[in-house]
Symmetry: C2
Amino acid sequence: MSTFTTVAAALKGEHATGSQVTVKGWLRSKRDSKAGISFLAVHDGTAFDAIQAVVPSTLDNYESEVLKTGTGCAVVISGELVESQGKGQSVEIQASAVEVVGWVDDAESYPIAKKRHTFEYLRTQAHLRPRTNTFGAITRVRTTLANAIHNYFHDNGFNWINTPIITGSDCEGAGELFRVSTLDMANPPRAEQGGVDFSEDFFHDEAFLTVSGQLEVEAYCLAMSKVYTFGPTFRAENSNTSRHLAEFWMVEPEIAFADLNDDADLAEDLLKHVFTRVLEEREDDMAFFQQRIDKTVIERLQTVIDNNFERMDYTEAVDILKNCGKKFEFPVEWGIDLASEHERFLAEEHVGRPVVLMNYPRDIKAFYMRLNDDEKTVAAMDVLAPGIGEIIGGSQREERLDVLESRMDAQLKEELWWYRDLRRYGTVPHAGFGLGFERLLNYVTGMENVRDAIPYPRTPGNAHF
Amino acid sequence: MSTFTTVAAALKGEHATGSQVTVKGWLRSKRDSKAGISFLAVHDGTAFDAIQAVVPSTLDNYESEVLKTGTGCAVVISGELVESQGKGQSVEIQASAVEVVGWVDDAESYPIAKKRHTFEYLRTQAHLRPRTNTFGAITRVRTTLANAIHNYFHDNGFNWINTPIITGSDCEGAGELFRVSTLDMANPPRAEQGGVDFSEDFFHDEAFLTVSGQLEVEAYCLAMSKVYTFGPTFRAENSNTSRHLAEFWMVEPEIAFADLNDDADLAEDLLKHVFTRVLEEREDDMAFFQQRIDKTVIERLQTVIDNNFERMDYTEAVDILKNCGKKFEFPVEWGIDLASEHERFLAEEHVGRPVVLMNYPRDIKAFYMRLNDDEKTVAAMDVLAPGIGEIIGGSQREERLDVLESRMDAQLKEELWWYRDLRRYGTVPHAGFGLGFERLLNYVTGMENVRDAIPYPRTPGNAHF
């Protein structure tokens, strides 16, 4: 009797040596010794490492099949679990049967057959790259991060709100919008002035992909007290950088009866919690990222976990930056939006741990952020982390109807009638923030390009697969 | 010293009677007695029930504020937690302070002030409806269901894969597509034949909203062994029914080295697990749905939990339907796609518990479903549940390249080159299914219209909020 096991379970010692096991997976590599033994490294996605199967030439299909396998072949291997002779592996399988389930058609053509590929090349093979060491590890860490986020919120009494992806609102101003339509673009129905008659479109009006679920989740916050979104958001910016995706996932919590300090507390607690979970649950993958991608990555997470976040006013930060004696590419004056170089100086050089910058000039921030008593700043915050800069952006929301309306133009007021209702009926102080999930994943893994942090990246010129 | 508590924690007895507590929330109702006492029912979204605060007229702001409050006002109430005199409540608060945080501007205009509203009316107040009993309960049950699904998969070694929302593929054929574009629709760039030149669009080609993440998640399945998607999907069908949304959330697991029976096992195990979690975690909300929405709803879930699902071939089901003596609106012949009346007869009357129908005629099913040896049927399955009909649809996927290609036309082959690659390099038997999340939520709660199962429903003519 052979027990089916995953590679992870076998490597973690969940089966006694001497027991008969069966693993199912794909060959990461194969080596044939002159002594008539083959060594097959089998991965199944459950752990960073493959398990080694030692295959003797005495198997019936050794010559006819085993010798002909190679990287990428799908196999089912049964045998005795034994202590490994090789270094770095606890156990291996002394194979008594090898079934080849799926062959590789022409090994030369297998796009990821060779061991080393650039990340750029692998993006063109998005359907096969999860079979590589790096992207297998990214996939598992992504899953753990997401699960840690969902459970952090669930265990703290938050409701997960699926805010809409398609929205009729084009006014939040967080970025360029994608239009969603079923009209025939070559020959759309025309309005009187020659424009398009969107009343004939699917939604009887113009519709777009959401840039943020914040406004809609606020409505749920003011009913359920603690809520969050975790879903895809979209920006149609023509930015070909390592930090921009046209489609990315965002986490946006929102808490009622809360001010900016509560918001900062939540951000700090969330990050500490999820980083702790990742270090515990994905020790194998994190060891790989540390070794091969970024030597500081575990220390970086541990620093976040172990230290209180510094809280600092924007105004104080500007003074520090002006007086630090450092020459910046972009000069610093009160009123500017800080650049990445400024943020990283503050977090990395000046403080040496995460910093929550608070109370930004009103003129560089969105209309819904709460006006402070000085009337020059709003209760906004950015969480700056060493090694990446801004990782979270949030604010206390303007809960006073008259102040809110004074910062909206006529069109905005009309379109957001329902948002204003929230301040008319039982308004309370509330706050929230946005956390870009792919940037978080890059921070955790040390990967540099967000295109490698999402299974199928969407960027200008690319909606392939 | 007063301890902040949620309504849920107070009602569940997490604080001793006699202790000083503070709750923050909104008034569901208020009653003023002639004896100079007011009874305020405060909800905060954490539990189905509100907590009652008994407010004596001796409070400083009793006349000036407390008497003027009403449904929807935001309050912070402190006082002693005492055993309740009223029926149906374990504890109440003997208030020593009431702070009114947010008033209701003109109670007459508060759109949900009255106790009874139709669900149809409440859809026009999607920003306020979570404050009602019913939609608060739906929100909590939705959260619990989603969390149970994520944790079921996580605890069983599945990776959560965020398949793309925007896709260049228009060929899966699961339904009508929404186009995604940044071109000026009134004046798009023209191709030579007068059509639109999509090479100038954001993605340099036509792009659409996804109808399913299945094909893309298969690629991850064949690397990670067990994966699932849980995200929004889109259908541009002009269907104004209680079962259709233009935007809905779908759960799609995919397992490697698995056949149709493994797929059915997974579906059965998943449903039993999540229904058990909901009954445990949301006892209060489920009691409400049972009492006010559908008297069979708890029994229905318990039936699914307690019984093995019957497995039946399509061909056998057709024989049963033809010979059962019942008159159906749509006549039954081998080869038809079963209608809801047939599915419900099988699950409700013939078997009396969930049925997994398997092996459907190839001609009514998608190209990627595995052809059976009879060459007339494919390894597809539908899970039919009493009270709703089809709740899950899935299949074993065609893993043999030649058979797969024989069911694809030239255009499909070209567009899905990468999908065919998966059969060329280490192909293995694999299977999966799709579970519509809003339909699941309706099944659990007894709600009839999927527009009430998602925070902001998108339907023909409606992308409001």
